[in-house]
Amino acid sequence: MENILTGRAHIFGDNINTDYIIAGKYTKTLDFTTLAEHVFEDIAPGFSQRVRPGDIVAAGRNFGCGSSREQAPIAIKYAGISAILAKSYSRIFFRNAVNQGIPCFLCDTDDIVQDDTVTVNIGQNFVELAEKGKRIPLEPLSPVMLDILREGGLVKYLKKNGKYILPR
């Protein structure tokens, strides 16, 4: 995980469920590039054509609610999204995204608008909107989630450690 990520923002509202991130009809595949082709299709048609590698998703409350399908964060990852910012996450999605090694953080996203250039400073726990001269603090992640992210996701974490270790 890079310590500083900069990307263009895509804005989403509250209660974006995993059906909206990737519809159920597309989930039955192990070809993850096809997931990226349909990401956010039902609520933001054409998103997969607009998104560029390194872009950032900024959302409201309860991002990723609903189904436990990990195809949702996988679709976001394969679309090239480098980080997710939201006011709150649904529990299962939050874990899945971290397990996929996607940097996802909690912060107030009200000041971020579509196409803003957003810099996420993970080491110092803030988001910077350079064009607006604004800094937004990030809520610290739990230590175990941070450890998994630092390894690049849960598979790499477990390959290295062989088990879960709760940081003290």
């Binding site: 059906d19 909206y20 159920g24 039955k28 595949t29 039902d42 609610c65 649904s90 175990v144 477990l158």
Partner: protein, 421 residues
């Protein structure tokens, strides 16, 4: 300070005195995967380079989300799951056996005081048997397959006290839609719901499963019920362990408490495209419906089919409306056949689907057309949920669905139940 049932179950599985907010590593009693989430879990597990899962007797593989397979791509994922189950000696439930959550409860694969995970968000259904059960993703599941454990944060508890008799035409589904409408789709994020009160005590296990199943629809991690004589009788009948039930202590710390007085709750309908958009059926009545779906892990069990048949027997479904009925398991189908319910439904005009998830997750077996409305007994009505983002899905009880199928529009079930219609 006492403990909640959730804290007690997690403590017992983590080998420590765990309280809400604590991070623990807990032992898993049952891990379930199905045909949407299983293949990714298996691929992740294979990366660890370990030949065997931690304990195949504590796992179950269920093919239910797209069964029978609608295309070769899904057929090949089914082959992958069958081969994995066979190589690992994991019990497999195949095409036609039913929905994973129905199977787990019906076969007694979990017992009170247990901790279960499933790669499906409605795994919280097993809370109806006093099991701390919750949905996880595929990679978390691969970690369980490797270690038999999972890290988790112990949730706080929202106590949901439901009291008083349910009035004619109001069912567990209506109570739950009302609750979700009241607290919102993130109203219980990161919390365990703990259901109590005389209304819940009076419910069958099937009705309790309807409540627990939908705990995730308000963000809850679990939807726990107290175990009682009904729970014990169910497990005894199956020759299974009655488990070690966990109860909330009176002096436990609860994050919040909600009271629902059942007689105040009328039949409910959730409007598209959000489960928490629940309104009394009288406010939605008259909306044209092209398809009614009765089934799913939420509301397709024998008592649900009985209610539907009571309303539909001797009548005909509206010519403007299709009625799809999908029993959630082979056992439910067999029982409904034996009781003559299936014949009544078929004669009323229903198409009977093979046990499984049916059209609920939007892969096949009843995808609505553009501009069509569906009324469903399922647990989710997100835009595009049933496979077409230009259709609308409404949610209601089996009774409201049956009455609406007769009229081809959303209808109040009460006149049909009182014999006035």
């Amino acid at each position: 300070m006492g403990k909640t049932a959730a804290e007690k179950i997690v403590s017992a599985h983590a080998g420590m005195d765990a309280r809400a907010g604590d991070f623990v590593i807990a032992d898993v009693d049952l891990a379930m995967i199905h045909d949407t989430t299983g293949p990714i879990a298996i691929k992740a597990f294979e990366e660890y380079g370990k030949e065997r899962v931690w304990d195949p007797s504590k796992m179950v593989v269920v093919l239910d989300h797209a069964t029978p397979s609608p295309n070769e791509r899904i057929s090949n994922l089914h082959v992958l799951l069958r081969n994995f189950a066979s190589a690992q000696d994991i019990p497999l439930f195949d095409v036609g056996d039913g929905v994973c959550h129905q199977i787990v409860v019906e076969r007694g694969l979990v017992s009170p005081g247990g901790l279960a995970v499933g790669a499906d968000s409605h795994t919280c259904t097993y809370g109806a048997l006093n099991v701390f059960a919750f949905g996880i993703g595929s990679t978390d599941m691969s970690g369980v397959m490797l270690t038999g454990k999972l890290w988790l944060r112990v949730p706080g508890t929202m106590k949901v006290h439901i009291r008083g008799p349910m009035t004619e035409g109001t069912y567990a589904k209506d109570i739950m839609l009302h609750l979700i409408g009241k607290i919102g789709s993130d109203g219980a994020d990161y919390l365990a719901l703990s259901f109590c009160g005389d209304t819940v005590q009076g419910m069958s296990l099937s009705e309790r499963m309807t409540l627990s199943n939908m705990a995730i629809e308000c963000g809850a991690k679990a939807g726990l019920m107290e175990a009682d004589d009904k729970t014990a009788a169910h497990l005894r009948m199956l020759g299974k362990s009655e488990g070690i039930p966990a109860f909330d202590d009176d002096n436990a710390r609860f994050d919040s408490k909600i009271e629902i007085y059942a007689p105040d709750v009328s039949p409910q309908v959730s409007l598209p495209h959000s489960v928490d958009a629940a309104v009394p059926v009288t406010e939605a009545a008259g909306t044209e419906i092209s398809q009614v779906y009765i089934g799913t892990c939420t509301n397709g069990r024998l008592d649900d089919l009985r209610i539907a048949a009571r309303i539909l027997a001797g009548k005909k479904v509206s010519p403007n409306c299709r009625l799809l009925v999908c029993p959630p398991s082979r056992n439910v189908l067999a029982d409904a056949l034996a009781e003559g319910i299936i014949l009544q439904l078929v004669e009323a005009g229903a198409a009977i689907l093979p046990p499984g998830c049916g059209p609920c997750p939007g892969t096949h077996l009843g995808v609505p057309g553009d501009g069509e409305n569906v009324l469903s007994t399922a647990n989710r009505n997100f835009k595009g949920r049933m496979g077409n983002n230009k259709s609308g899905v409404y949610l209601a009880s089996p009774a409201t669905c049956a009455a609406s199928a007769l009229e081809g529009r959303i209808a109040d079930p009460r006149p049909y139940l009182s014999g006035k219609q």
